[in-house]
């Protein structure tokens, strides 16, 4: 076995040092009834070539986004990731290290986390950010529970533009903690409808911009209304590239900003691993979930970094912790941070402009297709359109034309009565030829 260094001779000699007659002697504490003498009914070990072949066969049964025109978004986006990013995250010292519990020999990871936190705080327009969460949806649930701790209130109002899966995750997790979660019905352009639902028990409103239908909203009036009622505003973003063009959540009055960071540095990966961004006002830092990296000095007064404020965390506080979270999404956060460093401010703005311009081209072309109605009034790189029939059926039909046309809204929220709505995203990877192929095929299929 290529991953196991011990030889049979080693094993025999080591058993001798231990004073055991056989390996079975080391498993004597296992109740006899539960000892398995025979091998399990699974294949035996295999060489590298055989394993690679088996996996390549499975990979070959999937249709990669890069294989042709592709318009899926709705919380995960296909972007170009520079080759440098993937090379650097595979450095042994990043890939095969653990949580930086011994800071003297983990300054690489810690400095990266400190830089990541600073980047996320700048992008969201807030003062502090943590070292990342599992993904955008779990970050949203954690934000709602943080709002409960800050306000000592027990109710949260989720907008009808929030990604339905984010709503479901928040409902699952925050409900478990005893919170009342009010989910407004799916609505294309109605983030402000949360205002009417705020009451004296409301800990926070959760709004999304661009929302799941792609709609960009000025959230400042919502923040004002929430703050007037003593509630917080949580702003969700599923497309981190939009930070390069749009007003930041902080600028619009957000108390907590959460996002899915996959778009920067991370591949689609069929949904994971991704990286949740989490930022907040400094005054609430001690109520934040997740790991935080902070600056300090070593015994010689030199600058260094450590995990800090860990009295919030489970390994110290146990049942009184702010969250049960034990990991972050370290390597994905590293990929995010490297890609963001390569982009820089100028590159991010350019990338965002490029995405918006591709989406404008897509929206313009779709508007000209008879029977297609563009529903998104103000968008970044994603739009919703109404089709003359069932969107899921049309997406399936367009596969025959080699096109993955987008995400039918019914896939996310089957009961919303929006079966004719299709969500489409365009990014810098989308070409004019892709758009022309889509509109031509749509015209044929609809007409």
């Amino acid at each position: 076995m290529r991953y196991l260094p011990l030889s049979d001779l080693d094993r025999a000699e080591m058993l001798g040092v231990i004073g055991a007659g056989s390996i079975d002697d080391l498993f004597v504490d296992v109740p006899a009834a539960a000892r398995k003498a025979e091998l399990f009914d699974l294949p035996g070990h295999a060489g590298e070539m055989a394993v690679e072949r088996a996996l390549a066969r499975l990979a070959g049964m999937n249709r990669p986004a890069g294989a042709g025109p592709f318009f899926c978004g709705a919380g995960a986006y296909r972007h170009h990731v520079p080759a440098t990013v993937d090379h650097l995250i595979q450095r042994s010292e990043f890939l095969t290290s653990y949580t930086p519990y011994q800071p003297e020999i983990a300054q690489g990871t810690l400095q990266v986390l400190f830089e990541f936190q600073t980047q996320v705080a700048a992008l969201t327009g807030l003062e502090v950010a943590n070292a990342s969460m599992y993904d955008g949806s779990t970050a949203t649930a954690e934000a709602v529970m943080m709002a409960k701790r800050v306000t000592r209130r027990n109710r949260a109002v989720l907008s009808g533009g929030l990604h339905p899966h984010y709503g479901a995750v928040t409902q699952t997790i925050a409900h478990a903690e005893g919170m009342q979660i009010v989910r407004q019905a799916a609505a294309i352009d109605a983030e402000a409808a949360v205002i009417a639902a705020i009451d004296a028990q409301t800990a926070c409103v959760v709004v999304q911009s661009p929302n799941v239908f792609g709609v960009v909203t000025d959230l400042a009036p919502i923040a004002e209304a929430a703050h007037a009622a003593g509630a917080l505003m949580v702003v969700v973003t599923t497309e981190a590239v939009s930070y390069g063009l749009l007003k930041s959540p902080g600028e619009m009055g957000a108390d907590i900003a959460v996002a899915e960071g996959q778009s920067i540095g991370n591949a689609l990966n069929y949904g994971g691993p991704y990286v949740g961004l989490f930022a907040a006002r400094e005054k609430h830092v001690r109520q934040m979930p997740g790991r935080l990296c902070g600056e300090t000095v070593d015994a010689d007064g030199r600058r260094g970094f450590v995990l800090t404020l860990s009295t919030r965390e489970q390994h110290i506080r146990r049942e009184k912790a702010t969250s049960n979270i034990c990991t972050n999404s370290g390597l994905c956060a590293l990929a995010f941070s490297i890609h963001m460093s390569l982009l820089g401010e100028a590159g991010l703005r350019k990338l965002a402009a490029l995405n918006h311009s591709r989406a404008r081209e897509l929206a313009g072309a779709l508007a000209k297709v008879a029977g297609v109605e563009v529903l998104t009034p103000r968008f970044f790189n994603e739009i919703a359109v109404r089709l003359p029939g069932d969107a899921a059926g049309l997406v399936e039909a367009l596969l025959a034309d080699g096109i993955v046309a987008g995400v039918p809204f019914s896939r996310l929220d089957p009961g919303a009565g929006l079966d004719d709505v299709l969500l489409l995203a365009a990014t810098e990877t989308t070409t004019s030829e892709d758009i022309a192929a889509l509109t031509a095929a749509l015209s044929r299929r609809i007409g």
């Binding site: 076995m1 094993r11 800071p103 020999i105 400190f114 902070g294």
Partner: protein, 516 residues
């Protein structure tokens, strides 16, 4: 075997290293380069990405666009490569040397798994593209589920939890849903041993349960009498790690499960240490109702400096109906992904850590049924070897009988030396090893928990034991000063964690302003 002493002094001369610590002219030391923060080396005018120009027409976004600068520095590609390579060299890694963190399972990460996860058919597929276009991905998930169910002897598995603690949450939510379905809402308590991982009580509290601790016997196991006394109609579940965090197999595990079920409660097993028994023991045969499996431990997906993990949860027949969305079903047209909520809800936006599933599955195929069993046996053998070789210089917390995959020592042997567990750990850094887990589990004074894993050669184990033996002799020989000053050879010396917590500086500020 001789003490490793090539290229680095094993007994640093304090006077010399004090001056060395001040740094060279430009901060470099031999192969180790000093590196400033991104915000100090980058610039707003630099970029490492060439993008085509797009004429920005944002007329439809009037009043919604950014006006002020974001404050993000950029780096050209060569600068970025230098920045991150220099930073990487300040990290210890399993690829470099033994990383004996007990309870964390730092084993070799095969690179074939990395290659497989990057195949376009896995990395470049979208979670919401039509299921007819991702049949290979669903087959892989289905196969992974089959392996996990077979290895654990459990009938169902929820793949979506994104880490071990997320899996614990999933398991407890299923348990709560099962009680609620029976109309049994009176169960408000979860029992867990004092030696449990912090995530166990944190998760139980998160789900709204009160936590009661179970006492431990003198030989490091759950005290059956105490458990029996605390079980009752108000207990929803017990959470027990097996093998436990002292590195011991719970001999009475079947009786623990029987008592738990008799009281109408469920048995949640923390599967963090499944790597010790995989291929030899099936948790399903022990009476477990739910158990998370850290794919990043037992099945060697890389830890990445603290994530991403993956924590699928296997479920018993009683809990299987309460699994979260989504799940895979076999149909005439192939595999389908069911997204509707039939249990307690949804754990995350999509289907879990697919990238980790690919790596874990590649690892399983490589080892096979025989290799996985051998890996568990070698992990246990290596831990017992370390225990045997060090028990005369350190004090084993539970000297009688074998340990499983990790060996637990306490600090009685340091009594009167002036050296603490922390000091000893820091001295190991100067010898090129990552310290063991310190001060956990909480049931042992000054705990040192050593988990070598199966991917260490005998030569590396011997080198490690030799270093520990020499250091132990130094500690007992009155060299406390040297331990207090350690580490001297690391990129930095001991860091002031109190300062960091008292005046938190969590982001870089120009001119070094502190957040008020």
């Amino acid at each position: 075997m001789a003490m490793a002493n090539v290229g680095r002094p094993t007994q640093p001369d304090l006077e010399i290293s004090d001056s060395a610590a001040q740094g060279a002219i430009a901060g470099g030391r031999g192969l180790l380069q000093d590196e400033l923060l991104l915000f100090e080396v980058g610039g707003a005018d630099r970029t490492g990405v060439d993008l085509e120009d797009a004429a920005l027409d944002a007329s439809d976004l009037a009043g919604l666009t950014r006006t002020a600068p974001i404050g993000l520095p950029g780096l050209s590609e060569p600068e970025a490569v230098r920045h991150y390579v220099r930073l990487s060299q300040k990290n210890h890694a399993i690829d470099l040397a033994l990383y004996p963190l007990g309870s964390c399972t730092m084993k070799h990460n095969p690179r074939l798994n990395e290659k497989a996860a990057r195949m376009a058919g896995f990395a470049d597929i979208h979670p919401l593209q039509p299921v007819s276009t991702v049949q290979g991905a669903l087959q892989l998930m289905d196969q992974l589920a089959h392996w996990l169910k077979t290895l654990t002897g459990m009938p169902a598995v929820a793949l979506s939890p994104k880490a071990g603690a997320h899996g614990e949450l999933c398991g407890l939510l299923a348990i709560r849903a099962a009680h609620e379905a029976k109309g049994d809402a009176a169960r408000r308590r979860v029992l867990t041993p004092t030696s449990a991982h912090g995530t166990n009580p944190a998760t139980a509290a998160f789900v709204g349960y009160e936590v009661t601790e179970i006492a431990q016997t003198a030989d490091g196991r759950v005290d059956l009498a105490d458990l029996a006394a605390k079980l009752g109609p108000d207990v929803a579940a017990i959470m027990v790690t097996n093998p436990n965090t002292c590195g011991l197999f719970e001999r009475d595990i079947i009786e623990i499960a029987r008592l738990t079920h008799e009281a109408g409660a469920y048995f949640y097993c923390d599967g963090a240490n499944f790597n010790a028994i995989v291929g030899r023991v099936r948790p399903g045969d022990l009476g477990v109702d739910a158990m998370h499996i850290n794919l990043h431990k037992t099945f060697s997906t890389p830890h990445g400096g603290g994530g991403p993990g993956a924590g699928p949860v296997v479920l018993s027949q009683a809990l299987a109906p309460f699994a979260p969305a989504p799940w895979i079903v076999h149909s005439a047209s192939g595999l389908e992904l069911k997204e509707e909520d039939r249990g307690f809800g949804r754990m995350c936006a999509f289907h879990g850590q697919m990238g980790m599933f690919v790596r874990a599955y590649a690892y399983m195929l490589s080892h096979g049924a025989d290799g996985l069993r051998q890996a568990a046996e070698d992990a246990v053998l290596n831990a017992n070897y370390i225990k045997a070789r060090l028990s005369d210089v350190m004090t084993a917390a539970f000297p009688d009988g074998p340990c499983m995959h990790e060996a637990l020592f306490d600090d009685r042997w340091l009594e009167g030396t002036g050296v603490t567990t922390l000091d000893f750990a820091k001295a190991m850094i100067d010898e090129g090893f990552h310290p063991m887990t310190m001060y956990f589990p909480l049931v042992v004074h000054g705990a040192m928990l050593i988990e070598p894993t199966e991917t260490e050669s005998r030569r590396e184990l011997d080198r490690f034991c030799e270093v520990i033996r020499v250091l132990a002799a130094a500690a007992k020989g009155g060299e406390a000063k040297r331990f207090k000053a350690a580490p001297q050879m690391a990129p930095l010396r001991r860091l002031d964690e109190t300062l960091a917590a008292r005046k938190p500086r969590l982001t870089w500020r120009e001119s070094g302003a502190t957040v008020s």
